[in-house]
């Protein structure tokens, strides 16, 4: 456990504090919904309620991460967000297809939801159309995926944030700032098992020390893709959930932990890790956890 010499930004995301020195704020947890593309809204509503319940119980802030796979469901999902995510809370939209990203921005803009939107994500695949859409409908926050196809090491991730690794005209941080994003989170881009997957964890303290921004990742993706774990079916969910402890252990600020259905496993695991980190960082660095921290609920 450690603290950073670089001053750390603490962002206020619709009331949720994220960032700072290890041990100060609890790890923010992003749980995914509608990953398969066809949304089950009734089930989604229950899962969100459960995630918020666990968040209240543990102290770890919860942010629902909505996958949108086809244009068909864009409007329905935005309506669902409007009705089921309390107006005081942020949410993220998780979309790969650039044309869908543009469409949903427009819908979110029309519904006045952009101030609560975390745009997931900006990466080297961004094109002019997406930049223009982001300038017109600017979400308050964005996650930048620090994937550098030329170099998957922590240095490569810094390179793509700083200068785009000659794949984009400027660095990804500058792209986000240029389109008007005010609050930036960095995702260290977890790779497939065997493909430098550990670099996404090692990059957390490196990027925090370099830029002082809130950093996290979806390390569970590495577990999800593991064929080796096929031989340990009973353990798979536990391994998946516990993989997230690496994030607070390495000084990270948020975990994108995969399907929201895994919340019951993930929240206590991360809360426990936050408690351990906090105990040490308070004793050694004098960093007292905030009132909402899981450690405050433990005692």
């Amino acid at each position: 456990m450690f603290s950073f010499t670089k001053e750390q930004e603490v962002l206020d995301i619709s009331g949720i504090k994220i960032g700072g020195q290890p041990g100060l704020y609890p790890t923010v947890l992003f749980g995914g919904l509608f990953f398969k593309g066809e949304p089950d809204f009734d089930d989604g509503k229950k899962q969100i309620q459960n995630m918020f319940y666990l968040s209240k119980k543990t102290g770890n802030p919860a942010i629902p991460d909505f996958f949108v796979r086809t244009e068909e469901y864009v409007e329905d999902i935005v309506n669902f967000i409007e009705k089921n995510v309390p107006s005081s809370r942020p949410f993220s939209i998780d979309i790969i297809d650039p044309s869908l990203k543009i469409k949903i921005l427009e819908h979110l803009g029309k519904k006045n939801l952009l101030s609560r939107t975390i745009y997931n994500s900006i990466h080297v695949g961004i094109k002019d159309e997406e930049r223009k859409a982001l300038q017109k409908y600017t979400p308050e926050m964005a996650i930048i995926v620090a994937f550098n196809p030329k170099d998957k090491s922590p240095d490569g991730k810094i390179e793509v944030l700083q200068n785009g690794a000659n794949l984009t005209d400027v660095g990804l941080l500058e792209i986000a700032k240029n389109v008007g994003i005010k609050k930036i989170l960095v995702d260290t881009a977890a790779m497939a098992p065997g493909d430098n997957s550990g670099a996404s964890i090692a990059a957390i303290p490196v990027i925090k020390e370099e830029f002082g921004l809130p950093v996290g990742c979806a390390i569970h993706n590495v577990v999800e893709k593991s064929k080796w774990l096929d031989g340990f079916e009973v353990a798979r969910k536990s391994v998946d959930a516990s993989s997230n402890v690496n994030i607070p252990l390495f000084g990270g600020d948020f975990a994108i932990y995969g399907p929201m259905i895994n919340s019951d496993l993930v929240f206590p695991v991360i809360a426990w890790q936050d408690i351990l980190v906090s105990e040490y960082t308070e004793n050694y660095f004098g960093i007292s956890p905030v009132d909402s921290h899981p450690r405050r609920k433990f005692f």
Partner: protein, 297 residues
Amino acid sequence: MQRVKTTVIGSYPVNVENMELMNGYFNQTESSWNKYIKSAVDDMVNAGIDFVSDGQTRDPFVNIFTRKLNGCRIRDRTEVIDKVEYAGSITVEDQKYVRGILPKNRQLVGLIAGPFTLTRSSVDLFYNDEKELAFDFAKALKQEAQILQKHVDLISIDEPFFSMEMPEYGKELIQTVVKGISCSTRLHVCGDVSKIVPSLLDMPVDILSHEFKASPKLFDAFKQHKITKNICLGSVRSDNSRVEPVDEIVEHIKKGIDVFVDRIVQLAPDCGQRMLPKDVAFQKLKNLVKAGEKLYG
């Protein structure tokens, strides 16, 4: 007249599909870079170029090397943070791939960024001694050249920073890289080299390559000296998009013949073509080949 070969200096423009690379990330599958190398090689082959390169498509040429050398990391510029050492092949796998797709009647140029250029392009946070850093780069590049020579027909060392300053140890640096290399070697120095012609003619390489098209005054500079090296004649510009007509290139080559007589062994663009639009780069190569055919048959 013996037919003079056409060649390239190194880099070639490609249109990288960033979203395709991202889809590889999202699907957790490895995206191959070979299609971009092939795109560059296909253009060179289709234009009729004799000595083809891999196009240096992955990165600017300095980064291609510093990305894979121990002791370097890439930020806005390359930073040297530890002792520079060879950490394994840098360009060899790409060269093997190119050899595999290259028609048998074409030859392959292996490209190496020069040690002085790597030194001057980097921010030194470790050595505090430019010469020591340059020689460590040279020793690392030597190891690359030793492997590379088994896979290519010519090794070309790119040292643009010599045109700004030729260090007193410049020859020794190049010697460090090429000593014991059995294939032909070429030194490419773009920019205004008129003040360092004697040093260049003394370099331990077989061919000197310069940008004669952008700097025709170089003809006058070389005229003052006995030409003891073979010449790769820069004949189309790499720094602007105007495609030189064939006859203009022919006239330029004739000026070169007046100075170098039969020492001209290669015709090339002035420099790497990476910054040109792809269609322009291709058309320049085609016209270069046509000009060569017109003169040499």
